[in-house]
Symmetry: C3
Subunit: 668 residues, 3 copies
Amino acid sequence: MPGIWYGGDYNPEQWPPDVLAQDDELMRRAGVDTATVGVFAWASLEPEPGRYTFGWLDDALDRLHANGIRVLLATPTASPPPWFGPAHPDALPVGPDGVRLSHGSRDTYCAAAPAYRRAALRIAGRLAVRYAGHPALALWHVHNEYGTVCHCDHAAAAFRTWLRARHHDDLDELNAKWHTAFWSQGYSRWEQVLPPRATQYLPNPAQVLDFRRFWSDQLLAAFTEQRDLLRRHTPDVPVTTNVMLPSDHQTLDLWRWAREVDVVAVDHYLNATGPAGRADLAFGADLTRSFNAGRPWLLMEQATSVIYLYEQGVIAARPPGRMRSDSLGYLARGADSVLFFQWRAGPGGAELHHSAMVPHAGPDTRVFREVTELGADLRRLGELAGSTVRAQVAVLWDVEAWWAVAGRGLPSSRLRYLPALRQVHAALRRAGVVADFAHPEQDLARYRAVFAPSQYLLSDLGTQSLRRYVAGGGRLLLGCFSGVVDQRHLVRRGGWPGGLLDVVGIRVEEHLPLVDGERVALSGGAVGTLWSELLQARGAQVLADYRDGPLAGAPAVTRHAFGAGAAWYVSTVLDDVALAALLGDLLAQAGVQPELPGAGPQLEAVRRHAADGRSWLFVTNHGDTGCELAVRGVDLLTGTRADGVLRLAPGADAVLREDLPTARAAGA
Amino acid sequence: MPGIWYGGDYNPEQWPPDVLAQDDELMRRAGVDTATVGVFAWASLEPEPGRYTFGWLDDALDRLHANGIRVLLATPTASPPPWFGPAHPDALPVGPDGVRLSHGSRDTYCAAAPAYRRAALRIAGRLAVRYAGHPALALWHVHNEYGTVCHCDHAAAAFRTWLRARHHDDLDELNAKWHTAFWSQGYSRWEQVLPPRATQYLPNPAQVLDFRRFWSDQLLAAFTEQRDLLRRHTPDVPVTTNVMLPSDHQTLDLWRWAREVDVVAVDHYLNATGPAGRADLAFGADLTRSFNAGRPWLLMEQATSVIYLYEQGVIAARPPGRMRSDSLGYLARGADSVLFFQWRAGPGGAELHHSAMVPHAGPDTRVFREVTELGADLRRLGELAGSTVRAQVAVLWDVEAWWAVAGRGLPSSRLRYLPALRQVHAALRRAGVVADFAHPEQDLARYRAVFAPSQYLLSDLGTQSLRRYVAGGGRLLLGCFSGVVDQRHLVRRGGWPGGLLDVVGIRVEEHLPLVDGERVALSGGAVGTLWSELLQARGAQVLADYRDGPLAGAPAVTRHAFGAGAAWYVSTVLDDVALAALLGDLLAQAGVQPELPGAGPQLEAVRRHAADGRSWLFVTNHGDTGCELAVRGVDLLTGTRADGVLRLAPGADAVLREDLPTARAAGA
Amino acid sequence: MPGIWYGGDYNPEQWPPDVLAQDDELMRRAGVDTATVGVFAWASLEPEPGRYTFGWLDDALDRLHANGIRVLLATPTASPPPWFGPAHPDALPVGPDGVRLSHGSRDTYCAAAPAYRRAALRIAGRLAVRYAGHPALALWHVHNEYGTVCHCDHAAAAFRTWLRARHHDDLDELNAKWHTAFWSQGYSRWEQVLPPRATQYLPNPAQVLDFRRFWSDQLLAAFTEQRDLLRRHTPDVPVTTNVMLPSDHQTLDLWRWAREVDVVAVDHYLNATGPAGRADLAFGADLTRSFNAGRPWLLMEQATSVIYLYEQGVIAARPPGRMRSDSLGYLARGADSVLFFQWRAGPGGAELHHSAMVPHAGPDTRVFREVTELGADLRRLGELAGSTVRAQVAVLWDVEAWWAVAGRGLPSSRLRYLPALRQVHAALRRAGVVADFAHPEQDLARYRAVFAPSQYLLSDLGTQSLRRYVAGGGRLLLGCFSGVVDQRHLVRRGGWPGGLLDVVGIRVEEHLPLVDGERVALSGGAVGTLWSELLQARGAQVLADYRDGPLAGAPAVTRHAFGAGAAWYVSTVLDDVALAALLGDLLAQAGVQPELPGAGPQLEAVRRHAADGRSWLFVTNHGDTGCELAVRGVDLLTGTRADGVLRLAPGADAVLREDLPTARAAGA
């Protein structure tokens, strides 16, 4: 895959010939070389069961190929046509309250329904047969943003099958793992086991957790059976599916998914404007790179300007210039593509106001001018395709911990997984340190420090892994309310973090959630919110203690040497300043250097490395004033050299092909 | 219809004989001459299918007639009796989630269900046969507040029938107009088309829009078939139905409905106390008069004191004295009746706390005393019945624009239709100018200025109409986010306001919604909220530009001469002060004079005109201090003459029969 | 029942043998003498229909008995096992929208379904047969927290049966009482009558009220049929059921329930931390004692530390020391037990984070140490078992008034029942006065003063009772919006409080709810919120009048001598300071002395009395400084004597066995 792929979702089925002709010309003008075709096109390809209309797609692929554009060809299975529901009413999805959904939007199917799976494989197979060997075909894009769950009887049956496999076909084991002795939930036959449907009061958290695991696996099975079919027809064409980066919820266990795709491809829509949006970008990009095992990955969708602020019911626009800077931001953290939803804004349908490379107002617009400039920029950056980012630290990402802590009936609904991770990631970024994400059960030895901000659930294997990590010399920071339940969602007895008491050198015996607006003072001026814990230091050094409230005088933040390493424990949610200070000490002890030492928090600097020793430094000045960097190399965007000093105006970006490793050290 | 009708909803079926006897006496004391009878009385008239109990209604009509009271006789079809549901379970209404509603409140029927339509026609026909020729019968009041929609299979079938008629029985046309190529929604058979029911994610906005049109038409068909039946029996008795004035939502396209009634009759419950409530009154009254083509209209329901503040879950009471002043306010703007829900407060049922002319506490109350005084006042005003209001300007009212902009998935859920219109209407009212409402597709030439605050949807015909209006010399103000989609809810390509670029002399290329709390400064001290736009002036004069944010320096408010007229464009939501200044300039250029020049914003002045040249000036002093008006005429309420000066105490009203047109000019 | 019972819910079915062995030892260490066993154990006792597994329960009872622990044996009927739903799908509960709930939590049954009732009686009967005569069996604990309602067809049929009984099998009577003439709701056959299910708009309030009465009675019938069965087997073992104290809603009419149990047992979870939580404790304890006719009652469940703050989604922890003080607080107000949910924290299930006597972290914890200390304390207090509290005043508790005022469509959703009662109860408590609760229809003569803060509904019998009470010399305070509707939810005509106009000496003619944030000034510096009323004094003395708003100058607070007593009326919601002053005057006129005169608001003092003349004074110092009390007696907790002076540190409690009645007077 040479160069940086540039382009976006392209829907020729929505447009008349004159527009298509203009598309050809505008794509050339913009430097587009990639088009994602066929997403949601099922009804255009199979308007009635078994009747196919491939002509328009034949034309589109030929035309794109003639225009020098590679095609990422989608299977259209994310949106069955209107004929699907009447033909297979049992395959429409059902909510927990038993309401069966109707056609009228997209994604109206149950992936556990045999009729859906058959229909999806049939259309995918037809596409594979027809376009195997087409010279434009560069990659299979299966489905779109898997994530639809269902509570119907098909789902119930598949859930039971999954449970029997997971729990050794042993109902006693299920009863024990789910602790069904509570509230009279002991099952005497497998047929009694159901999805968590609408019920009187709080559900069984173990059942809920297994149901979430089940759906991630069930959707993955729907993907892999399409993938396997496509591979049979086109063994040389890579296969992926675009996944949504986690926002307020998360359906997929992306560590498991990443193993099944040829390259991880994500859709990322920023969740905020301004600095918070840029932090979200870095978070998402680092996460994706980590899922893809550090290899270059595909940014499959972003928006030219739309930022969805769901809570406000408002779409904010990315201001002028940010699309370019943000696109460079993704590249800096390992993306090898800049792809958008969508090439051209469509006049109708549910997303008629979604932004595009060619806006409704046409090419004579700010947006299209910036699209064209970005295309030119990307051609200058082609050399860095394939290079990678090297992180010295990792933040733990464990969707099971998220699923567990997001359950109902926990001590605090305010203590949320993603904000906890975002806070630590943002603090590391402000400290100039690039972080990977890692799974607690993986080998962590290559990281100088590991941060586990929110591991309410920590599996037995994860517990052993963290123990090995610290014993072997690692630095581990564990956030509050961690190590509380195991992989079954059963509370660990004897105090927390269960299984790591000796590693952390403390024992938490009691959780004391804080109420809205409540703050607790710590020594050293720190402030805790949302949460506090009663713990004893059992060998750990107390770095800070509580200064007011019922815990006054008790330890709040601790450090404990264990084996060749050390473990920190933070029993509340620290304010950003206190967290930064704590991380600063920890990073120093771990010997972690910022990517560009001395750069200061207004400058974002990330480096990509080639296998042959070359490196590229991406820098962005987020400050209000210009700054000077002590670097040597060529700015690929402008073609100018920096011989020891690079001046960067406020808001400006540079991509420096660095001269020598020694130059970097000198620049520090 | 001589004089001002005075009275209200009367439910003798709820009361014992002693109370009915007292009613006769109290109605005389209060000067009541009109009673609306039979609303919701179906179960009292037909307690079992086919068994009728008209005796109590016979008595009521005879008794009212003997007491000199005209009867507005209702068909009771808004509330089928308890026997209806068990007999016709398929005719009970169904929500978008498939939940079928039960009897237990009112309006539990689907107007698309044949069984309901037959039952409704049957009881209406029985009433017509029985009371045709009764001397008390003055007007047929069909049903009550049509507005119930349904998503059942009957509704689906009727929706398809309606769609086939609207779209030339051509499924390809439907697919094109709904842009079903997006998200795989292409229909291959009519049977696949459904109402917008519960579905996975955002619906198709064109489908939603057509479904709203369908229901307005479907309910209208239910009305007209009753109307036609009644007309066959009583060709000389006018027929109407009481409609709710739009509040937070609107089901009916009232321009279409107004054409089918003999007189527009509305129910109006103020949405606020204090000045905001009075602004709501003026808005509602001007709207109703406009629907009725400027002719006198019927205020069919108001409350003696209740003001519903739904968001707070509170009923506020109209303070002492306001009922009279507000009633005069309706008359000033063209009403020929002052009718209430309800004559007497009922002891039970869902609305047991609704206010009434005779409160629960009886006639020895503040409320009943004021009712009696108001009755006396109205007798003094009988001469103005039939006179009309003359407005020089119009605000555009287009429920399809509302329906469209209220859809899901738009750039901002904060940019709401009704508040936009209210802001402009209130500014005109404060400027002393009486406004009509008008439809964009109608001939607008008679207005000196036209205001279109919120025309997100602007049809092809509406676009042509506005073009003709400005070209012919009109002054048009167009608010932000206007001219974006056409009547199909398809986005107009090439920039906005689509189809009017040359008229307005600008091109909007990009929408930049503002987030909560965000404000943008404009030149001249104005402040914009909620919304901003990137636009180019293409011939237009820039009246104000943006001063901060990403649009700093770009045009914000423009004016463009076109043909013999001019068009203003406002690309944000202006603060009230800035809007008032802008309207002031526009009105001056349009040569619009206030109703009572020099009166100042604390005084509300509206004039009614008779065909014979007589005129009546309604004035209300909303200020905290007394004021003097230079007018000549007789105050009908007091019988005193004003010979050049009328003194008006704070809160006071006067209705002046004016001496001469010249006196008015002198008073300016 | 000698001594103070100490212990909690115990679930041996959830634990392995090693844990059970530790339980025995820890219970002894903690001084536990009582265990509630079998709650929610249905699936463990009857894993399949008709197959019973009593072995573990046999062992548990034997083991507990050997350990000297009495058993409160529960019937497990609150949670049918997973096999129940598939066997009896018609017996699963249905919401008002028709959604039938699934197994997955607890309480998934409809108590009106015959299949459920049969299955519940069967398992209860099996328990009775097996454990009749077991020496550990001290009390039957039927079910758990009855409160689940249903809207299914079984419920509808049972509702009709109940209605026919209540309304003399006369459909005309039902139509009249429900005022079905409004909105066409007249029933012509009983079969048409339904539960209040999902409907178009506001329901009939009389139907809603009867449906709530029906469910309280239906659940009570489910209880009494179990009770009667158990009594047949074990005539000497008392029977009760644990009820939840009212929080944000209330399903049961506890006055009626209390008559059917041998002792009232409640579960009480504080709704707040800090002083508000302690006020909630006193409120709940006084309420329970009153339900139990003043006799000692059972605190069946409290938490060692959990405080649920549902609106925040947070569980707050009771800070160190509060569990002991609060437990003494319950004893002070008449409890003869200190029982917890639960003995040992369970590792899984929906409530895995519920606190316990033995926390997850084990016995080496703050919580278990305090549990052990509390056990020792309670052994020192055994002598006061059986003694009672004597209150001079009462607050009216009438769940029908609550149900009525919580209905939809009332003038204000902000005027809530429970906060109104809490405000008065808290003011009395701050004044040092212990209050009972009483029903308006009961004989009130023994109380020096009666407070009726929120009697929107006041039955005919209640009206007569209050009249008699005042006429006979009582002091009555009536809050705003009282005496508005009768027991049918029909508005009383002629002004309010209907039926008491001459008693109160005023007539309310109009309600004027205040909107959010609105305040009204009263003379004397008081401030009213939420509500105001237009009333005339008709003989009453005006204690305060309105000073602004539309009611300026009108009476706001009044007092009227009637017969040998007097009645106060408060037409708004007073601020706490003004209410305290008003109550102070009223209590003085009624001759009510605080429990410990001169103690001041920081000290809480409550006294228990034995039939033989002994008395015990419970005192708690809620202040920040120490205080001295002039008392004589022995502090049972410390064994030290107070000879005229008792010094109490901040936060400290004492339980004084008082020397002599004269000593108490001297101490005043």
